[in-house]
Amino acid sequence: MSSLTFTLKEVTRQRIDCSPLTPNKLADKSLADIAKIQLVTGNLSERADALFIITEGDSQSIKFKGSNSKLDFIGHNMTKGKISVDGDVGAYFGIFMEGGLLSVKGNSFIYTGCEMKGGQIKVNGDAGDFIGGARPGRRNGMTGGTVIVTGNAGARAGDHMRRGMILIEGNTGDYCGSRMISGTIAVQGDCGRHLGYAMKRGTILLNQMPTRGITANFNDCGTHTLGYLALLFTSFKKLDTTFSRVDNFSRVRRYAGDLAGIGMGEILVKI
C-alpha cells in the first residue's frame, strides 16, 4: 500500500504546526477526518486539506512532499510507523519521539530529536542547532533513540543529552556536546569551538583531532585501548549511515572534562 501523502500546496508565510499528522494520531482515521484536522498556523488554524493536498494511503507510512523549513513538529510524540519528508523541515523534528522512523531528504531546523526517547531520525541534509536538546527550562534532552545527520550539524548538538546516540557524518558547529549528561555523539568531520562545554558525562567520539584542538577545560588523559568501542561500532552496523562502514578502532586519545564541573565527560580521538 502506498504512503498517506501530504503535499504542501504553497509556501506559507507563517509556520505550520504539523504535530497532529503522525502514524499514531492518524491510525484508523478516514480521509475525510484527516482532511478536517485543524493545523495551527500563525494565530489561527486551518484544515489540513486547506494547506496540503492529501493523498490516501497507509497512515503508518506517511510522506510529506514539497515540505519546507516552516513545517514544525513533524513526528511529534511518534511511537511507531514511518514519516519521510521530501524537502526541508522546520523546528522540533521528532520531538518526544519514542519509536518508528523519521527521515528528511533536506535540512532540519532547530531542536531535531528534542527530548526524544526512542526511534530513529535521519537527516539527509544539514541539521540545525540543539540536536537532541531539551526545551528551555527543562533539564533533560534526548533519553534514547538515534539521530543520524549526513550533512553538517549546527551548534549545541546533544545539549543536555541524557542517553541515546547522535551520529554526524559531516562537521558540527560550536558547543557540540554542551552540558551533556550522558549518551554518545560521534562525529566524522570537524568540530567547531568549545567542544564538550559544561559536559558532565557522556562520550564524544571523533575520527580525527579537531582543527582547533581540544580546549584547556579538558585534561589529556593519554592514549587508551577501549574495548567497549567495538560494541559501539557493532551497533553502528545496523544503522543507515556511513558510520556503519567506518573501520572499527579501539585506540584513542582520551580527554576528560569539563573540569569546571564533575569532569566525567570524555572526548575520544582516534589515534
Binding site: 507563517q14 509556520r15 495551527v40 528551555p136 551548534a155 568549545h194 584547556a216 577545560n217 569546571a260
Partner: protein, 424 residues
C-alpha cells in the same frame, strides 16, 4: 501679550535611561524644554533633552488624528495572521497595555534587547543563580570581577555611584577594593580608585572567554589544569584569581549581557553563575547582571507575572506559549513570518525599527526617524518626562516612580495601546 515661561527645577529625578536608575538628577524645565543640570551622563542627558518635534500621528505618511491612527491600527491587527508587538521600550503601564493587547490580539511579544536579556533569562530557567543588588554591592564588595564587559561604556556612572562611595555601612576602606577585568579592558578611568589605584586587567577575546571561564571555575573547584595558558591568559594567573575569589569576603562577579556579543553566551553566563554558587560553599559571593535599559527589565517582569513567561511568548493559540527561539522577533521578521509588527520605542530616539516586509505600526518617541515610513506612526510621550510611570532597575528588585516633567500633550503608550485594544 507674551507670557514669560518660568524655569522649574526638579530634584531627585529618576532616569529611565541609565539602567541603574540613577535618581539623583537635577533637571531644569522651561516650557517643553528639559535640561539635565546635575548628574546626567551619556545616556541620561540625551534621553531627557531630546526635543519634541512631531506631534501628529501619521498613516502612510499623512497626518491624521489619534483616533484615526488607532482605528487603522486595529484594522491591521484584525486581519493580521501573525502580529508581533516588539520594541517595547516602555514603562510599567505601557507593558501592561501591551500584554493585554497581545492577549486579545493573539500576538507575539518580544523586546528590542531580548538578544542580550535572554543570555541571562535562559540561565535563570536552567540552573538559577546567587545574585545581589546595587546597594549590597555598594556597601560590601571587596573584589569585583568584571567578565567580558567594559562597564563604563554602557553604565557611565556605575563606578561613581556603586563602587567608589564616600562611606560604606561596614567601614570598608574603599581603596582596598580590587577591580579585575577578565576579557575586555576598561575604555576609560572610571574603574580607577579615587586615589589612583588602577583596575587589574586580564585580556582575552570574546571567542576565548567561554574557555577561560570554564578553566577559572575548575580552578575554583581545586582542579588541576594541565594547560599553561588559555585564550592568552596564563593559567597561573587564573589560579591566583581563583584563590583571591575564595578568600574574598563578598566578591561580586558582574557582566553586561549586551556586551557578551557572541552566540550562545548564555552558556558562559551559566558557567559564571555556577562558579558563584561554588564560591558560596565556603565564602560569600554574588552575581550582578547589568542591564535594565529601554524598559527591558520592566517588560519582562510584567510579562512574567501576567502570563507566566518572559518575552518571546506568543498568544497564537489563545494562551501563553513560550519559545525563545521561534518567537524571536528579529528571526521572525528575517524569515518573513510576520504580517504586522507593532513597534514601541518611547525612550531612545536613535533605536531603529528593524527592516522587514511586515506592515509596521510604530508608537515612537517624537522625532524618531525611519528608513521606510511605517504604515502608522503615533508619537508617544516618554515615561519620566511626559507622563508619570514606573520602571524597574537593572537588578530586577528595585523599581522607581518616574515623574511627569512637562505637559506635552503627547499620549502615553498605555493610552494608545489601550485604545487599540478597545478598538479591536
Amino acid at each position: 501679550m507674551t507670557e514669560k515661561v518660568e524655569e522649574v527645577i526638579r530634584y531627585d529625578v529618576p532616569s529611565p535611561f541609565c539602567g541603574i536608575a540613577s535618581d539623583d538628577l537635577t533637571v531644569s524645565i522651561i516650557g517643553q524644554k528639559v535640561k539635565v543640570l546635575e548628574n546626567g551622563d551619556a545616556y541620561t542627558s540625551p534621553g531627557f533633552e531630546t526635543p519634541i518635534t512631531d506631534r501628529a500621528p501619521r498613516v502612510n505618511g499623512k497626518e491624521v488624528t489619534l483616533a484615526v491612527a488607532v482605528e487603522h491600527t486595529a484594522k491591521l491587527l484584525r486581519k493580521s495572521k501573525q502580529t508581533v508587538i516588539s520594541g517595547l521600550a516602555t514603562d510599567l503601564n505601557g507593558a501592561r497595555a501591551a500584554m493585554a493587547l497581545a492577549d486579545k490580539g493573539r500576538a507575539t511579544v518580544d523586546h528590542m534587547n531580548s538578544r542580550a536579556v535572554f543570555k541571562n533569562t535562559l540561565v535563570l530557567q536552567n540552573t538559577g543563580w546567587m545574585n545581589t543588588t546595587l546597594s549590597e554591592v555598594k556597601n560590601r564588595v571587596d573584589m569585583l570581577l568584571i567578565v567580558g564587559s567594559d562597564i563604563e561604556a554602557g553604565f557611565p556612572r556605575f563606578f561613581e555611584r556603586i563602587i567608589w562611595p564616600e562611606d560604606t555601612l561596614f567601614d570598608q576602606d574603599i581603596e582596598s577594593r580590587s577591580i579585575i577585568y577578565l576579557g575586555k579592558g576598561p575604555s576609560g578611568k572610571a574603574s580607577t580608585s579615587p586615589e589612583g589605584k588602577k583596575a587589574e586587567v586580564m585580556l582575552c577575546d570574546d571567542a576565548d572567554l567561554p574557555e577561560v571561564l570554564s578553566v577559572l571555575r575548575a580552578l575554583v573547584a581545586g582542579r588541576t589544569i594541565n594547560a599553561q595558558e588559555v585564550g592568552g591568559v596564563s593559567v597561573t594567573d587564573l589560579a591566583q584569581l581563583a584563590t583571591r575569589l575564595k578568600e574574598a569576603k563578598y566578591s561580586v562577579v558582574t557582566w553586561v549581557a549586551s556586551m557578551l556579543e557572541f552566540d550562545h553566551a548564555e552558556v558562559s553566563v551559566q558557567m559564571v553563575c555556577e562558579m558563584v554558587k561554588d564560591l558560596n560553599i565556603k565564602a560569600r559571593s554574588s552575581g550582578l547582571p547589568l542591564g535594565g535599559k529601554d524598559g527591558e527589565v520592566t517588560v519582562n517582569q510584567v510579562a512574567v507575572w501576567q502570563s507566566g513567561y518572559p518575552m518571546r511568548t506568543n498568544f497564537n493559540r489563545g494562551y501563553p506559549d513560550y519559545d525563545p527561539y521561534l518567537s524571536d522577533c528579529l528571526r521572525m521578521l528575517k524569515d518573513d513570518e510576520v504580517d504586522t509588527l507593532l513597534w514601541v520605542s518611547s525612550f531612545d530616539i536613535t533605536r531603529k525599527v528593524p527592516a522587514s516586509k511586515a506592515l509596521t505600526v510604530v508608537l515612537g518617541r517624537s522625532g524618531m526617524t525611519f528608513d521606510t515610513e511605517p504604515a502608522v506612526f503615533i508619537p508617544v510621550g516618554t515615561p519620566g518626562i511626559d507622563h508619570k510611570g514606573r520602571a524597574f532597575r537593572a537588578d530586577g528588585v528595585v523599581s522607581l516612580p518616574l515623574r511627569q516633567l512637562r505637559d506635552s500633550g503627547l499620549p502615553s503608550t498605555f493610552d494608545v495601546l489601550s485604545a487599540i485594544e478597545q478598538a479591536l
